[in-house]
Each structure stands twice: as structure tokens, then as C-alpha cells.
Symmetry: C2
């Protein structure tokens, strides 16, 4: 499959690497910033054939099979407006953007959404990463399924409305969770305790819900209605009013969801 | 080492199993509820010598080396008041309870705190679980270090004030995180999407901070200051005012902590 990658961020980088590793060709990488396009193109070339870095849409080849737009959500439409007419399928990789934003620019389009968190310098195996696909026609869907199944064992059709909910859920379980880790880090740092002390707990908390459902394995003072401990915690948070408010909010939500389980 | 376990909950169960596996003897298990004491005693007997279940403190043997009080925090003092005078070291396993609550009842006491989340039916290897120890005297500390080092590679001294912060941090990174998973589950369920779709993301989010610090790997619309996406998410949450408020709170906290990183 001949592919053009439009974008050079974390998703483009990780997706590009996985695509090349499976023997597909990425012909060009476009980025507004030519240096960034070159960095990604060079990386991809290491494990495949030549990849051209471009930053002008006038240089875009128009006969690739697939154009993957992997830029910030608010840049997708700008790309679509500026790129030349192409025959291949045009997809974006955004969780929270409707597929049909591409409709004014093509009849052959879709979405290729890898549901995972990608960071610079953190490599990741996409085999277990769900890839959600959606397309404007059967031909496009076949193409996206073929590509997705070559890099992941977990490919699923999902419409734009469902994908919005997946993306929202991802923000809760990934972005917000990571910030709770950051708060944990800061609470320990205040007492000269190393973050390493709670890494096993973080890992086990995620590990536990790989088989169980979260509600079934909820632990802690809020679900036990252990007010003595909660009052101690609130006292400890006096110097952090915003974390104190968060503690209160989360404890109430947990108590509410687990009313039936409380031992009080 | 001859040990008496006072309590039969999740911590007592997991700790008891690890202790027996390392060749120590648990002589008795006390629980207010004799059936629960028997269940744990039977479990422990499978991999060791005889373990007696009791529910009367008058039956407690008084010459064990160590008495581990592993009951709900608000039950610790009740246990101390009711148990007979013993010569061995008395410890509790509570993160948020000061060591000195034991002082009125003994001169030989301490804390044995495994920093992990324990659920029924979810087995766990304690080798990587930090065990935080504290004791009223050197003899007690030696004893606790010996026991802790036999079941874990990560044993550390920690005073009561530090342990309170560890426990509070644990609530944020474990209990609150698990509730974010529960919200994610419910958001997907509303669209007939399986929780399995976000399990890899949950795992990777925890995996990523095993080497990196959370602040360094924060992703998502809040840290990018991507207001278009955040407005979409808030609209999706109109029917869940409490999650909408949480979304707002968390996004503000993330934006605040990462001011310097925003691309806007």
C-alpha cells in the first residue's frame, strides 16, 4: 500500500513506524515545518525505502492509495483546504473529529483512530492497540481494515458518535489519570519521598482492571465510608485547596457509585 | 518467626499468604467473625503448618514474636484494648494511623505497611511491593526488617508523618484513578462499547510512568490547550453534570501545572 503521511507529531511518528514495519510504503511526509518532516522521514527510511519530506502541498503526490492526516484536531480542515485533489482515500486519526469534515473535499474518505497514548521517546507495540476504523464507502473500509489488521490484532468498526465517546473516556482514564499520578508525585516530593514508591501501586491498579471491571475492585476510604481516614486526608490537604476540593469530589463520586457496598 | 494475624480482610489475606510462603509460622488468625478467621486459617494451612482460627482474645497466645493487627483503621484501638498483654512486637498495617496509637498498650511496637492495593480474588506478588516499616525500638525494627525483606525486595524505613503522605498519594493514584476507570467504563457502556477497548490505554498510561515522571508524559486536550476539543467534551457531558464538573476541574489543574508547555 502506498501511503502519504500528513503530520509529524506523536501519532504520525508511532503510526508511521508501525506501517513501515509491516512492509507498506510511506512515500512522503508532509509537515508545515520541513525540519520536523525530515526528522520523521529519516526515521521511517531507516526501516524501509526512501521517504520524502515536504512542507509544500504543491509537492504532494496525488496517486497514493491513502493519505493519513495526523495533525492537531484544529488543523485538519486547514490541511484539507490546502491539499490538492487526490484519488486515494483521505483519513484523519482524530478521536473527537467527525468523519464527515472530509466530505466537502473528497468522496473517498474515512477515519483511522488508534486508541492509545503516544509520547515522544516512549516506544509502543501497536499489536494490542485497538484501531477504530470508519469510511465513506466499502472500498475505503476494506483498505483501512487491511492496513489496520496488518499492524494491530484489535481492529473494530466504530462510527463518529461512538468514537467521540471513546475519546472522551480516554481523556478520563488516561489524561486525568496521569494527572492524578502527578499529584501523587508532588505529595511525596513534599516529604522527600521518591515517586518510585508508588509506581508498583500505579501498575497494579491498572493491571487489576485488565481482567476485572473497575467498580468490582474499587478500594479505599471512600468506598468503605471510612470517615476517620477521610478527615485525616482532608486535614493533610489544607495547604492545597484545589486538591482538597478534588479529594472531596472524587470521594463523593465513589461513595455515590458504591452506595450498596458501604459497610457503615 | 512465630506470628499471630489479627484480622482477616484483604491485607491480612495477602500478607498472610506471603509470610507463610517464606517459611514463617502463623500460629493463629483472629477475627471477630469466626467463619472469616477459619477461611483465612484454612487458606494459610494449605501451604504451611497448622493455623488456629479464633474469635476470642482470651484464646490469644501471648508468646508469639509478632502480632500483626490488620483490621479497618477505626478498629485498631478496639483490638488493642481487648487483647491480652503480650511480650512480642505489636504492629498495625495502616497507612494513615500513627504508630504511637499502640504506645499505651505496649513498649514493643511498630508499623508494617505494604503499599499496594489488595482485592479479594486478585493474587499479587509482593516482591515488588514496597513495605514501609517503623518501630518503637531497634529490636522491633530488626524484626520487622527481617520479615519485610523475606517477602519483598523493596523495604524502607518511613516515619508516621511520611507514611500519611504515602497513603494520601495512594488514594489519588489508586482509588481515584480506579474511579476514573469506572467513569470511562460507564461512558463506553452508554454507546454499547466494551470496556476492553480502553484496557490497553489504561495499561500503557500506567506503564509509561514506570520510567518517566507523570508531568513529562502528560497528554490530552488540556495540556495542549485544545479548546475546540474540550468544548466538544463538555457538550457530550451535559447529561452528567458531576462528570462535567470533574472534567472542568481536572482540565484546569492540568493546564495550571503545565502552563509552560501549552502550544497556544
Amino acid at each position: 500500500m502506498n501511503i502519504v503521511m500528513i503530520g509529524s507529531g506523536n501519532v504520525a511518528t508511532h503510526l508511521g513506524a508501525a506501517i513501515i514495519n509491516e512492509g507498506h510504503s510511506i512515500l512522503q511526509v508532509w509537515s508545515r515545518d520541513l525540519d520536523r518532516a525530515k526528522t520523521l522521514a529519516d526515521n521511517l527510511e531507516k526501516s524501509g525505502s526512501e521517504v520524502y519530506a515536504i512542507n509544500q502541498f504543491s509537492d504532494l503526490i496525488t496517486d497514493a492509495d491513502l493519505y493519513i492526516i495526523s495533525v492537531a484536531d484544529d488543523g485538519i480542515e486547514q490541511v484539507l483546504k490546502n491539499m490538492p485533489k487526490v484519488n486515494g482515500c483521505i483519513v484523519h486519526t482524530s478521536g473527537s473529529t467527525n468523519m464527515h469534515v472530509i466530505a466537502p473535499f473528497s468522496t473517498n474518505y474515512g477515519v483511522f483512530y488508534p486508541l492509545q497514548t503516544f509520547s515522544k521517546n516512549v516506544s509502543i507495540d501497536l499489536l494490542d492497540t485497538p484501531i477504530l476504523v470508519e469510511a465513506s464507502n466499502d472500498h475505503g473500509l476494506d483498505l483501512l481494515n487491511e492496513l489496520a489488521l496488518s499492524i494491530s490484532n484489535r481492529v473494530q468498526y466504530c462510527d463518529s458518535d461512538q468514537r467521540m465517546s471513546l475519546h472522551l473516556a480516554a481523556v478520563f482514564v488516561c489524561n486525568f489519570t496521569n494527572h492524578l499520578y502527578a499529584i501523587g508525585h508532588d505529595l511525596l516530593a513534599e516529604k522527600n519521598l521518591d515517586f518510585d514508591l508508588i509506581r508498583p501501586l500505579i501498575f497494579e491498579t491498572a493491571q487489576k482492571v485488565q481482567r476485572e471491571l473497575p467498580k468490582q475492585v474499587q478500594t479505599g476510604p471512600a468506598v468503605r465510608n471510612d470517615e476517620v481516614t477521610m478527615v485525616k486526608h482532608l486535614n493533610q490537604l489544607q495547604n492545597h485547596p484545589e486538591w482538597l476540593a478534588l479529594y472531596d469530589t472524587m470521594s463523593n463520586l465513589i461513595a455515590e457509585q458504591n452506595k450498596d457496598k458501604s459497610i457503615s
